[in-house]
Symmetry: C2
Subunit: 405 residues, 2 copies
C-alpha cells in the first residue's frame, strides 16, 4: 500500500490537549449537531502531561475509503457518523479553496489515512474524545491548509464530540451555546490565553477502576428529559456563572474562580441525581476528595484549591502554583509517593515538599483513609496551550502507519 | 420524692410511631416555629416494630421545675427551647379548660415529670425526634385531658420537631406547609388511614455506623440559604408532587406512589449536593440500594419497590405485602439471615421464602457486594396506626421513675 512516486503522500501532524470544564456541558438541544443547552467553560490542560498526537494524510495510492487508526486499532469509520460529519465538513472547506485556486492539489478528492495516539491510558478515565476530535480536526485542517480560525473550526470539532470544540484553543476557553438551529453560533472562544494566568495547576486524582454508571451522551439526554431541576440550571444558574467566572479569570481572582467551579460541579451532579432513573458519577472516594478540599481551604484560612468532577468519579483539583505546598503537598503527604504519578514536568515544585501543607491531624481522618485506598494514580498538570503542529508523524513518507512509542 | 396522699400523682402514657416521609421536609421558613418551606407527606410506621413510650405525670409533690428523662438519661429541659415551647402551649390549653370548668384539678399549676423510652437503638440512625415529640405532646395532652384533635395538637408537636407533627396520626399523613406567619395553618392532616391501604410494607436497611455529614437542622438551613436549585424544588416541584402522590394513595396506585417517592428522595438529596458547602447524606451503600431497587423493578417488569433516604445513608424500601417474595425475598437472599433484623411481627410472610424473588445473577453484582458488606441490620415493618394510649406507665403511682424493660 506504499505510495508510488506518481502518488505522493500528503501529511500533517498535530498534538491536541485535554480540557477540563469548570462550568459543565450537560444536555444537548440538538443531538446530531451536538448543540448544548447551556454554555460551558474549561481550562485547557498542558500537553506536556496529556496529549493526543494525530497525523492526517491523504494519497491517491490509498484505498478508496477513508481510514482511521486509534491507539493502534483500526476503526470502522463508516459507523461513526460523528467522524464522517467532521471529515465531510473539512473536505467541503478544502473544495472551496481548490475551486478558488486551481493551482492547488485536489486533496479533497483523495482518500484519507488518519492515525492517532494518546499518551495516557484509556483506563485513567480521562475523557479522551475531546482531545481526539480536536486533534483530528486540527490535523486535517492543517493537511488541507485551511484558512479557518480555531473558532471557525470549533463548529466542526463540536460535531465530533461537544467538548472537543474547547480543545482547539489554549488557556481558558468558553463554548457559547448559541441559539441558531444550524449551530453556526455554537462555537468556542478563547476567554484568556494561557499566558494571562499561567500559574493555574491541576492535580488529577484517578479513582481505581469502577464501571461507569451511564455513558455521558445517554446520561445527559436522560437528565434533560427527566430532571425537574435541570431547566433552572440551564436557563438561570449557568448564564450567571459564565459571566462571573469570566470576570474572575480576567481578574485572576482564584477564590471566586474556585467557588464557582466547585458549585457548578456540585450543581451538575445534583441534576444527575435528580434524573430518572438517577445517575451517580461521584462515589465515596469522590466525596472524600471534596471533604479534603474543603478541609484544606478551611485550614489555610483562604480558598487555595477547587475540585471539579466530570461524568465519572475522578477529581480534578485546581490550585495556583504558589500554593503547591498547601495543596499538592498535603495530597502528597496523604497519598504517599508510592502512588503512581508523582513525576513529570510539573512535579518539580512539589518534589522537595516533605511536609503536609496543612496539619494532617486536623483533616477528616475518614476521608483520608477512603482516599488513600481508593486512588490508582495522580496526574500533575497545569493550564496549557492549544494544538501544536509537529513533525513527528504517525504516517510515514510512503503512507505506512508508524508508532510514536 | 414520693407523692404523699395529699399530693396525688396524675399520669397518662402513650406510644407514638416513627414516620418516614415520601415527600421530604427540607427547609424552614421560620426556624423558631419550625414552619417549612414546602409541604411534606409521610407513611406512619407500625408501633409493633418501632415506637416511643412516654409517660407524662404531674404532682404537687414534685420539685418545682419540670423534669424529662429520655432512655434513662435526665435531660436539661431548660436548655431545650423546643421542649419548653411544647409544654408552654399544652399548659395554656389546660388553663383554658380549667378556667371554663372550676371543678377540674389545677394540673396546669403542677410540675411535670415526663419519662420516655424508645424501643429501638439510637445507633440505628432512625430519626427518633419525631416519635419522641409526638409522644410527649400526646402524653401531656392526655394527662391534661385536652379536647384538641390530633391536627390541632400537630401545631404544637411541630414546634418540638418539624416532622413530629406527622407522627400524631396513623396511615398516610400530609403536613401542610401553610402560609401564615404565626404557623396556625402549618399542620398535619391524615390523607388516608392505615386501614385504607394496610398492605404497605417497609424494609429499613440500616447502614453500618458512619459519622453523619451535617445535622439536619443545620443542613436544611444551609440548603435554603445557598442552593440555587432549592427554590425550584420548594415552589414548583413539591406542590405538584403532593397532589399527585395524594391521588396515588387514594387510588392505592403503588407504581405512581413509588416513582414519586423515589424521585422526591433523589431531588431532595440533589438540593443537598447543590448546597454550599455541599451536603452528602447518601454513600456508596445507599447507591447500591438504589441500584438494586431499580434492578428488582426492571426484572419484575413492574414497579414493586421504592427507596427513600432521609438525612442519612439508611434506605427505607416500601413495597406491598403481595410482593414480599419479590422484594423482601430478594434482599433476604442477598443479605442472608445472619444479619440482625430478620425477625419480628412482619417477618412471618418473609420467613419461609427461600428463593430470591428475582434472578440474583441478573442484578448488579457490585451493588450486591457493597450492600452485603455495608449494612448493620434490617428492620421489617409496615404502615401503622397513630399514637395509642397505654397503661404501661414509666412513672409509678408514687411518682417514681420505672423502666419498660
Amino acid at each position: 500500500m506504499a505510495a508510488t512516486s506518481e502518488s505522493p503522500v500528503f501529511r500533517a501532524s498535530t498534538t491536541a490537549p485535554v480540557n477540563i470544564a469548570v462550568i459543565k456541558y450537560w444536555g444537548k438541544r440538538d443531538a446530531t449537531l451536538n448543540l448544548p443547552t447551556n454554555s460551558s467553560l474549561s481550562v485547557t490542560l498542558s500537553q506536556r502531561s496529556l496529549r493526543t498526537l494525530t497525523t492526517a494524510s491523504c494519497s491517491a495510492a490509498y484505498p478508496a475509503v477513508d481510514e482511521l487508526t486509534l491507539n493502534g486499532n483500526p476503526q470502522d469509520i463508516q459507523s461513526s457518523k460523528r467522524t464522517l460529519a467532521c471529515l465531510a465538513n473539512l473536505r467541503a472547506l478544502r473544495q472551496e479553496i481548490e475551486k478558488a485556486d486551481s493551482s492547488l492539489p485536489k486533496l479533497s478528492a483523495l482518500p484519507l489515512r488518519i492515525v492517532s495516539e494518546n499518551n495516557f491510558p484509556t483506563a485513567a478515565g480521562l475523557a479522551s474524545s475531546a482531545a481526539g476530535f480536536a486533534a483530528l480536526v486540527r490535523a486535517v485542517a492543517d493537511l488541507y491548509q485551511l484558512p479557518q480560525s480555531p473558532t471557525d473550526l470549533s463548529r466542526i470539532a463540536r460535531q465530533g464530540s461537544g467538548s472537543a470544540c474547547r480543545s482547539l484553543m489554549g488557556g481558558y476557553v468558553a463554548w457559547r451555546a448559541g441559539e441558531l438551529a444550524d449551530g453556526s453560533d455554537s462555537l468556542a472562544e478563547e476567554v484568556a490565553p494561557q499566558s494571562h494566568w499561567p500559574e493555574m495547576r491541576a492535580l488529577i486524582l484517578v479513582v481505581s477502576a469502577e464501571k461507569k454508571d451511564v455513558p455521558s451522551t445517554t446520561g445527559m439526554q436522560t437528565t434533560v428529559a427527566t430532571s425537574e431541576l435541570f431547566s433552572t440550571r440551564a436557563n438561570a444558574i449557568v448564564p450567571a456563572r459564565m459571566t462571573a467566572i469570566e470576570t474572575a479569570i480576567q481578574n485572576r481572582d482564584f477564590p471566586t474562580f474556585a467557588e464557582i467551579t466547585m458549585r457548578d460541579s456540585n450543581g451538575f451532579h445534583a441534576t444527575c441525581l435528580d434524573s430518572w432513573p438517577p445517575i451517580f458519577y461521584m462515589n465515596d472516594v469522590s466525596r472524600a476528595a471534596v471533604r479534603l478540599v474543603h478541609d484544606i481551604n478551611n485550614l489555610a484560612g483562604r480558598t487555595v484549591c477547587a475540585y471539579t468532577f466530570d461524568a465519572g468519579p475522578n477529581a480534578v483539583i485546581y490550585y495556583l502554583e504558589k500554593d503547591s505546598s498547601l495543596v499538592a503537598g498535603t495530597f502528597k503527604a496523604i497519598l504517599g509517593t508510592a502512588l503512581e504519578g508523582w513525576s513529570g514536568p510539573f512535579y518539580e515544585p512539589v518534589k522537595n515538599i516533605t511536609d503536609s501543607g496543612v496539619p494532617l491531624d486536623q483533616v477528616d481522618s475518614r476521608a483520608v483513609d477512603v482516599l488513600k485506598s481508593g486512588l490508582s494514580r495522580v496526574i500533575l498538570t497545569a493550564v496549557g496551550e492549544g494544538p501544536v503542529s509537529v513533525q513527528s508523524h504517525l504516517v510515514g513518507e510512503k503512507g505506512e502507519i508508524l508508532s510514536s512509542s
